[in-house]
Structure formats: C-alpha cells, structure tokens
C-alpha cells in the first residue's frame, strides 16, 4: 500500500477518514469549528458516489444520517458541540435502537468558546447516551479514528461519537493518508425489523437492558484501541486525554520528569489499562479539558483497585477554558513540588487598542440596526440570535443571544411576561430556517405582538458562506427550489410581512415604523447580499468620500463602519469603503458623497 503525507487541517483529515471508510452519506449543519468537514467533502461527492448535504439543522442531519445507516450505508452527522443539543433527541434513542451500517456522530467541541455561546463537553453526552466517544489529539489521529469509528460502530451496533476540539479541527499537521476504497455497487436498502427500528415502549424496554449490557462490551472493545497508551515509569503518573496528552508529554520532557504517562483517546477509558496504571502509581494527576469525565472514572475505579490513591485533577487543572502547555506544565510542577512558571507580562501592552471582531465595512446588518433604532427608539427591547449580526452588540440592538433560533421565542416570552414596550427581535436567514420557524409559528399561534426582523444576507455568513434552503443551492452546488421567506412567514401566521433593502435607509425606517405600529405579529425581511459574497460575485459600488462640508459631528463615526475614520477634526472614508452609501444617509449635514470619477 502506498502512503502519502499531506499537510492537512484537522477537519480535512476527518473528511479524508470519511472517504477512506467509503461512507455513503454525510449530513451536517455548519458551525465553527466543524464546518470544513462537509466543505472538504462536497466537491468530491459525485466522484465518490456519496450524498453530502447541508441539512436544515443538526437534528435533521442526524435523522438523515440514521436513515442512511438503517438503509445499510455508512453515514456521518457532523456539527459543533451545541448542535448536539439540537440533535440530542434522536441521539439518545438511537443508542437504544442501534445502527445498520456504521454511523459516526462528529461533534466539534470549542473549549474557551472561541466561536461559541458555551463550552459544554460532549463527552458528557456520550456518557449520557451510553455510546463510546473518541477524542483525537491531532489531525493524524482524527483521520485514523474516523476510520476506526465506523468499524467500532458496526462491531458494537451503536453510533460512535468523534469529538475533536478547536485545537484539533483547526490544527494542521503532516497526515499520512491511506487508500480510498474501490467504488463498489451499492447494496443499500432498508431492512424491516420493528423490534429495533420502532421505539415503542414494548420494544425499548428490552433495548435499554441491551444498551446497559453493551457497556461491558464497549470496555472490552476499547481495551485494544490504539488510542490509549501507557508508558510505565515512576510511581507518580499522569493520565491525559486527547490533546492534553500532547501537552503532558511536552511538559514532562520540558520538566525532565520520569513520570508514568497514560494517554487516553476514548470515553470511557478502558478499565484494564486504568487498573494497570493504578496498580503501578500511588499518585496520579488527571489532565483533561473541561469536565472531569476521566477523573471521575479514575476516582470510581480507585475505590476498588487502590483506595489510598493520591488523586489530583481539577484541583490543579482548570475546568473552564482550554488548556495549553503552560497550564499543564504548571499543574505537573505543582504535583512535583516545583515552582510554577509565571505568565509573561508585558506592561506596555496597555497602550494596545483593542481589535475585536466587527461587522464588515458595508455590512447591511449595521444599516438594518440603524433603521430599527430610529423606528423603535432606544427604549424598545431587541432580542437577537446567533450569527455575524451578534457582533452588532455595541449598537444596542442585540440585547439577548441564547441559542440558535431563540430570538423569536424569547421575544414572545418577554411580551407575555408583561413587558409592554415595542419589541423587535433579529435573526439571520440561515438561523431562521434552522430553528426560527417553530418560534414564529408559536408566536403567531399564541398571538404575540412583536416584530421579527429576518436579516437576510442570503447565506450562512459567519461559518464561511454555506448555502441553505433560501439560497436555492445545495452543499454540492445542485440547484434546488429556493424557499421564499415571505411565503413561509405568511404561512406560519405573521399578519404583516414586508421586505426592505437596508441600504435604502429611509425606506427601511418607514417599514420598521409600520411594523412597530402593527397590532399583531409582523415580520420584516431586511434583504441585502453579504458584502463578502457580493465582492466575490464581482459587485462593485462607487466608494464614498467626506466633503469639506463636514462639521465634525461624529454621527457617522458612531454608525461604526470600519471604513469611516476620525482625523481629529473631521471624518474621512478609507479604502475599505464598499460603497453601500448608508453613511451618506446617516450624515446630518449631507457631507458624504460618492467619489466622482
């Protein structure tokens, strides 16, 4: 067999593993840090005879993957960690029913919330459901574990979770790739077996017992998994999971300590290997990111194997945020009685201007927010949602952000909770189609008086411009029937539905006023292409400039577009200007004009 080394992103390595496993279907919803798995696969779907889709949400993605597995095609559902909350309903019962062909659920965790609303630990879900979880330390393991996960899933008749973290999904390394299987004729087809496909009480009672009994089989299977490696040295030892194993190895080398090291890549960790470690070591530090999942398992086992074990874990290793070499080295130093290495402090850093992520120059969300404030007033309530537009928090129009699609339902609750003020909530087109539909239906059904603004930039911008049902294009570039947000909003029961171009600021304010004064549920669709997509499609607008008439009132600066700068006395427009023209409408003195060629 010929092996080739490539410099691969962790997510691309996972995609490679999916290809090497001959999967027939991959479904997912975009979410950082998971999106590149499907993005890597979608151009290859045709030549590998594989169905690849962006599903409407994670629950749908998992259900589609389950259907494929039950039809005997290896399948994958991919999502970010919080996506599994949405998909948790099928996930929990799937463990009872089992799979047909191998099914891998990929949930990319995000310790430190680099791009997320929380940092929940998906290993807890795996424990909760009673399914095994594989935790790669680097892109090579991510690829190899993906291949292994399908085999394990089929051997156990269970879904298997693959849980990379941001530092694996968005790491790159040299990855040795294997061969792709020959394309064989599909032998897919659904096999009828109601006893394990129909979750009736009479069926699931014995299936639950079967799932409990399988836990022992899982332990046996994982005892030979190559991802769990023990090196016995001194009678003090480190047990570390996933990427923490690499931090621990490097820290031990750096500190020149001859501690034993057990690297763990599976949840549960195999009890045999843990027992061996516990019999060898009298003192152990468990290093893992987020929850003390492994530590709890070690503590439980120690009660039987070594009750006098001197066990450390979250007492020395932070439970919140991500780990790094420095944190792990200091935890090990504390165990060894060595001094901690102090963080490097550079006092001059206090001159640094912050550089937070911001809405792009010319982003239409900024214009929509401006129109909303003008029409609804600053005293109105502005629940919002998850997407690029959450970055508009500084404008005062993002007052809540909870989870995908929550804006409308939270707004409904604020209204029925007794707030009488105008309420205008916002969510993006992709988020609306993901899980805003049910909130809108509920608001209409229960008669909530509020305005729902759909910030329609015709893409899933935040995660890298993936298509969705409103775009009329699938993950693999096939044309599909574009769903009309207006028709959907009316069908779900909105009494007033208006569409407006936010770049036409005056008209947008007028429409928002009409929505504000409407006596029932109104929907405003603020439609304008994402500036990034527009630039890629070749849209060029005439940039703007500030004329001598500028009086230095700074109203345009407060609008917050990165293309507008303060020179000390007047405003000026820099080269980032995309020519949206909204600042010219915001300027009270009429001092901003198009550049005349």
């Amino acid at each position: 067999m010929v092996f080739v080394k490539e410099y691969l992103l962790g997510n691309a390595a996972i995609a490679r593993g999916i290809l090497e496993s001959g999967a027939g279907l991959v479904a997912g919803y975009p979410g950082t840090p998971s999106s590149e798995i499907i993005e890597t696969l979608s151009p290859l779907a045709g030549q590998r005879r594989m169905h690849v889709e962006w599903s409407v949400n994670e629950k749908v993605a998992l259900e589609v993957a389950i259907g494929a597995s039950w039809a005997n095609a290896r399948s994958v559902a991919t999502m970010k960690h919080v996506g599994l909350n949405v998909a948790s309903d099928p996930f929990m019962t799937l463990a009872y029913l089992g799979v047909g062909a191998g099914l891998v659920v990929i949930t990319a965790d995000d310790p430190y919330c680099h791009s997320s609303q929380n940092e929940q630990d998906s290993r807890r879900y795996a424990q909760f459901a009673g399914v095994p979880c594989l935790e790669p330390a680097d892109p090579q393991e991510a690829k190899d574990m993906t291949v292994y996960a399908f085999e394990l899933s089929e051997r156990l008749n269970l879904p298997v979770m693959l849980r990379p973290t941001t530092r694996v999904s968005h790491a790159r390394s040299d990855v040795e790739t294997g061969q792709l299987p020959a394309l064989a004729a599909s032998n897919a087809g659904f096999t009828r077996d109601p006893s394990c496909r129909v979750a009736l009480p009479v069926h699931v009672r014995p299936l639950h017992k079967r799932l409990i009994a399988k836990q022992e089989t899982i332990d046996k299977e994982l005892s030979s998994a190559p991802w769990n490696r023990l090196v016995c040295r001194a009678d003090t030892g480190i047990i570390a999971s996933g990427i923490s194993g690499l931090y621990a190895e490097e820290a031990l080398k750096d500190l020149e300590l001859d501690y034993s090291l057990l690297r763990i890549g599976t949840t549960p960790a195999p009890s045999g290997l843990l027992t061996e470690m516990l019999e060898h070591c009298r003192r152990i530090l468990v290093v893992e990111e987020l929850e003390p999942v492994l530590e709890e398992q070690v503590a439980l086992l120690a009660r039987k194997v070594r009750p006098d074990l001197d066990l450390h874990g979250k007492s020395l290793v932070p439970r919140a945020g991500e780990l790094d070499l420095g944190l792990v080295r200091n935890a090990i130093s504390a165990l060894a009685g060595l001094p901690a290495r102090e963080p490097i402090v550079i006092p001059e850093k206090d001159i640094l201007p912050p550089r937070p992520p911001a809405l792009c120059p010319g982003c239409s969300h900024r214009a929509t927010y401006q129109a909303m404030i003008k029409a609804f007033g600053k005293d109105a309530v502005f629940p919002s949602d998850i997407g690029c537009y959450t970055m508009g928090v500084g404008m005062g129009t993002v007052e809540t952000c909870l989870c995908m699609g929550a804006s409308i339902s939270v707004a409904t609750g604020i209204r029925f909770g007794g707030d009488e003020r105008p309420i205008c909530c916002t969510l993006g087109d992709s988020t609306f189609l993901h899980s805003g539909l049910t909130g809108l239906l509920n608001a209409a059904y229960n008669g909530a008086r509020l305005t729902v603004t759909i910030l329609d930039n015709s893409t899933t911008a935040m995660t890298g411009h993936q298509p969705h049902p409103g775009t009329g294009r699938t993950a693999t570039g096939q044309e599909s029937c574009p769903v009309s947000l207006e028709d959907v909003a009316r069908a779900l029961g909105a009494g007033l539905v208006e569409t407006v171009d936010p770049y036409d600021l005056d008209r947008a304010v007028e429409v928002f006023r009409k929505a504000r004064d409407f006596s029932g549920l109104s929907v405003v669709i603020a439609r304008q292409s994402c500036v990034i997509s527009a630039r890629r499609q070749g849209v060029r607008r005439q940039p703007l400039q500030v004329t001598d008439a500028c009086v230095g009132c700074q109203v345009c600066l407060n609008f917050g577009c990165p293309a507008i700068e303060w020179t000390g006395e007047t405003a000026s427009i820099n080269t980032l200007c995309t020519g949206c023209g909204v600042c010219a409408m915001v300027c009270p003195s009429g001092s901003i004009k198009e550049v005349v060629r």
């Binding site: 680099h114 530092r167 968005h170 690499l246 931090y247 550089r355 917050g560 507008i564």
Partner: protein, 194 residues
C-alpha cells in the same frame, strides 16, 4: 530540552493572509520530510479581528507554541506584534510589517493608535526586531495583496527549510496567474532582511 526545531507565531488581522503563510511553511516542511504542526484562527474572530497562527517545524507535540517560546514572531501589522509579544522567546527574532491597519476602536476615536517606536521597544527588549513596510514592498511588486508573501520571503531566511521547498509550496498555494507577482514579493521580503 527543545520540543521542535523552530517555533513560529504569525500574527495579523483577519483578511491579511496569515493562514497562507503557515500553509506554505507546513507544505514545505512536509516536502522536506519534517513533522510539522500548525494552529489557526477561524470563525468569528476572523471578521476584522486579531488573528494568530502557531507553526512548529520538526515537532511531534501540540500545535501550540508556549509563551516565551517563539523563535520567530512574524507580525503582519505592528500592534499585533506587541499583542503577541509574550510569545517571543528571549533572543528570538520579530519580523514586523510597519504598515498599520487601524482597528475600529481607533477609527471611531475611542482609542489612540500608538506610535511605532512605543510598539516596537518592548519587542526590542526581548529579542531582535526587523521592521519594514511590507505593504509598500508588496505594492512595488505589483499588489498590496501580496504583503503576506513579502513577509514569507523575509521569514524564509530564518527557518530551517530550504528556499526551494518553500517556493515549491508557494506555487501550490497561489493561483498560477498571481504567481509572478508573488515571487517578486517573496524576493523583496527576502532582500529586506539579507
């Protein structure tokens, strides 16, 4: 004890092409038969925010460079050099593009953009600083977009990978029609530090 041959931290602003630099180094390292690790910033932080990338040559550990562990700090923007100065190893080298990109906190007048000498002096205390206007050099090569490749050219003089392997990797990453401009940019960056 060293865990890699060369630890590099690449800092910049979303959109400046930080990822391309590490992609080229990584591919070149693979061509040279060296294990290599990289860590990238994707997602939310990219939107005009500060981005950072870690690259470790001949390394089998995690992709993250430790504080005070970077042999090289490559900064595509001056204040981003200072923001990540705690990564620079004592005696390490910082290669800094002196052309500022003003953050929105400065353009809106809430914060001041500090003068260059104040930005660079803490770095000079830690190691060697090579500062030059890579954006201007890229413009003279044909396009300011190639600023990242100017910086890559400068970096190439400091990393334990042959120029041949780096250029071969660059040719894989850059579209063919832009390759000439990028090669010019690479040469200008290299000449700047020679």
């Amino acid at each position: 004890m060293r865990s890699s041959d060369c630890d590099i931290v690449i800092a910049g602003v979303g959109g400046q092409g930080v990822i391309l630099i590490s992609d080229v180094i990584g591919r070149a390292a693979v061509k040279a038969g060296l294990p290599v690790r990289g860590a990238e910033t994707h997602g939310m932080a990219q939107r005009g925010g500060s981005v950072v990338n870690h690259t470790r040559i001949n390394c089998r550990y995690s992709p993250m460079v430790a504080e005070g562990g970077a042999d090289l700090l490559l900064a595509l923007e001056p204040v981003e050099a200072l923001r990540h100065a705690h990564f620079l190893a004592p005696g390490g080298t910082a290669l800094v593009n002196t052309a500022p990109v003003l953050p929105v906190t400065v353009t809106t007048g809430k914060f001041a953009y500090p003068p260059l000498e104040k930005v660079l002096s803490p770095l000079q205390r830690i190691g060697t600083v090579r500062a030059f206007n890579a954006t201007e050099l890229a413009a003279s090569a044909g396009t300011v977009q190639a600023m990242n490749v100017v910086m890559l050219g400068a970096l190439s003089r400091y990393i334990p990978i042959t120029e041949e392997a780096i250029l071969a990797a660059l040719a894989q990453v850059v579209p063919e029609k832009h390759l000439k401009v990028n090669l010019r940019a690479f040469e200008l960056g290299k000449a700047e530090v020679d």
